[in-house]
Amino acid sequence: MSDLEAFRTEVRDWLAANCPEEMRKPVRGEEDVFWGGRRAVFNSDAQKQWFLACRDKGYTVPDWPRDYGGAGLSAAQAKILRQEMSSIGARLPLSSFGIWMLGPALLKFGTEEQKKHYLTQIARGEIRWCQGYSEPGSGSDLVSMQTFGADEGDHWVVNGQKIWTSYADEADWIFCLVRTDKSNKYQGITFMLFDMETAGVSTKPILLISGNSPFCETFFDDVKVPKEQHVGEINRGWDVAKYLLGHEREMISGAGGGDRTAGIGAVIKRMVGEIDPVLRAQLAQFDVDALAYSAMGEKFLDEVNVGKGHPAQPNMMKYAGTELNKRRHELMMAAGGSRALEWDSAETGGGKAARGWLRTKANSIEGGTSEVMLNVIAKRILDLPGA
């Protein structure tokens, strides 16, 4: 324990010295999030300073090995870092699908060469990744995937279309599921990596009900992908994808949970001053659920760190976390009243409350719908028949 306590002191000192005051304030919106990549632009000096400090310390990916740009922290150390960052409200230095999704898959399935190359790029925020899974007409049903890579010897030629690719228009590379064997419906899919600047790749943003366009349609028209750019075995991409989906679910469930899932009643009280008694009761019951879920998030991460817990548990976290987050925003809209309805007024930061509320409605759809999560829990955890 004293080693860990020494580590805690070290972390505290390091944070005190390296995390700028500005980076300790709550994120106000997408503009405060740093995603890295070739076209990355810092929106403040503080953001840049904080990112560089973390990058150099390996704290963009604290528990990855040092060889791949991480800090090589143990599970216990990583938890301490998380706790200390949370206690000063430190922002994430780098948000990245590379860290949350591709990275864990590469750590498990990648060759040594791939790890060195791609993981280091990810850790250093050099390449921004997007994910190509869903296709039009095959929302939750990945088995019906049509995008095809024709085998041309040392490369594939990929044709097809993906949908719901988050930030495809801002990403540098894509990790993508491509059918490489039409004779096998459930297998025959390969997990490929390629540059979004490859000839034949184009993207088109999808306008959402929130008025924003975080997702794209992505088109592949005779896209050449070298054979070495696949992860795991050829025609066994489904194993990689499933593993990765688990991590995506952890990440999305984090959106409604983690240490940030404090109660909202107190925040709303400060914001609006007076709360209707029936609404207050709703907030109180929400806070019960949110604080309980927060404990679950901690328990879940603790168990993940030591390999305990059911392997399908991320599905439960994703389900509960996203449903909670939707409810949180419903209540925030109710508390905000008519002011929160405003769509583009300056006073509301251009309709931040309303747009944020609408955005949360996708939480229980993207990365596997709530219905799919419940199916998985029923089948894999409860072992119900025919599920």
Partner: protein
């Protein structure tokens, strides 16, 4: 009176349904005006058509040139408005302001009602102060000044405030902020000096204002009803408006539900129509049950109001709260069951979610009205 539509009402429902589906359709009205960033949030041409259909003056007494119908009938039109998300000033003008003006002097009725009936005028009501509906507390003040009054204060969530020819303003002429009495209603014309509107577009593409009154001078004949005696008329307006908003909400809920049930019959996943999945079937069936019950509560409330029953106030809150629950469920289930495409602007289901949110808030949300049910029941 039985709780279903009699023959005349059924005929009205048919023609309102046909008219709104044709002329008030989403592409023709809501998307049309929204995509053009229309400053009114609705089309004046449609408002004239409302007049031709006899909708604008349906609640106005026959003596005043209207049709002298009741809130059940207004609810029939509002349900179709809701089903088609038709933007119009019907609720604020033909329900709320018309209810107030029924208590106005001969002069006031003669001045304002013909324009309403003809579909030439648009009215707004200025009740709320602050983000939440709390009409028990009114701070906006009108002070005696010569023969008239000087009005000061701010009103929020004034739907159609900037495009209205006249605003019905609830102001305090005596007493403290939280007093029951001391309220007076004023008909404030659009050209009143020292009245400024900050217009904001809302999530459902409708327009509302934060309206400031900085010593707005009003003649004595701007008063609707009695000086200091406006609370009773205000309560009458609130009942009419809440039941009307509930009726519109039933339409929003039904429209969202129908669109979703249709989708369940078309969309395939995992080799099956998603409507075959029992989990979705049960949720859809539960939703149906909630929407039916909400509709019954709304018709009952309208009947009680038409009958002048003292139970109308309680039932108005029941209806407003129940509809908010049912419609909220309908739009949430609607978006979720549509999956990814439900999140896109291209599909209409998201528009139902947006409209529902604004309508929920108007004249008190489900929490406010549940609380009111408790208070009116003595606990």
């Amino acid at each position: 009176m039985p709780l279903y539509h009699d023959d005349d009402q059924a005929m009205l429902a048919d023609s309102a349904r046909q008219f709104m589906a044709d002329e008030g359709a989403i592409t023709k009205q809501l998307r049309h005006w929204r995509d053009r960033d229309c400053k009114d949030g609705f089309g004046h041409g449609l408002w004239k058509q409302f007049a031709e259909m006899g909708f604008t003056g349906m609640l106005v007494a026959e003596n005043d040139g209207g049709l002298g119908m009741g809130h059940v009938e207004a609810g029939i039109v509002l349900e179709e408005i809701g089903r088609n998300l038709t933007p119009s000033p019907f609720l604020t003008s033909s329900v709320l302001a018309a209810t107030a003006l029924a208590h106005g002097s001969d002069d006031a009725r003669g001045r304002w009602l013909p324009g309403l009936i003809a579909g030439d005028s648009v009215f707004a009501v200025a009740i709320d102060e602050g983000g939440k509906h709390r009409p028990e507390r009114i701070k906006t003040r009108a002070q005696k000044s010569g023969n008239g009054f000087r009005l000061s204060g701010q009103k929020d969530f004034v739907l159609q405030g900037a495009s209205a020819d006249m605003l019905v303003v609830a102001a305090r002429t005596s007493g403290d902020d939280n007093d029951e009495g001391g309220i007076t209603l004023f008909a404030v014309p659009r050209d009143a000096a020292n009245m400024t509107h900050e217009a904001v577009r809302l999530v459902d593409s409708s327009m509302a204002t934060h309206t400031k009154f900085a010593d707005v001078e009003l003649d004595g004949d701007a008063v609707i009803g009695e000086v200091d005696g406006g609370r009773a008329v205000l309560n009458q307006m609130l009942m009419a408006g809440r039941i009307g908003a509930a009726a519109e909400g039933v339409g929003v809920a039904s429209g969202a539900m129908d669109m979703t049930v249709d989708y369940l019959k078309q969309r395939k996943q995992f080799g099956k129509l998603i409507g075959e999945f029992q989990a979705l079937q049960h949720r859809a069936a539960h939703l149906y049950s909630e929407v039916e019950i909400a509709r019954a509560a709304t018709i009952k409330a309208a009947q009680l109001l038409d009958a002048g029953s003292e139970k109308a106030d309680l039932m108005a809150s029941v209806a407003k709260a129940k509809v908010a629950q049912a419609a909220g469920l309908a739009v949430r289930e609607g978006v979720q069951m549509h999956g990814g495409i439900g999140m896109t602007d291209e599909y209409d289901i998201g528009l139902f979610m947006k409209r529902d949110r604004a309508l929920q808030e108007f004249l008190g949300d489900q929490y406010y009205h549940a609380g009111r049910v408790a208070e009116l029941s003595g606990y």
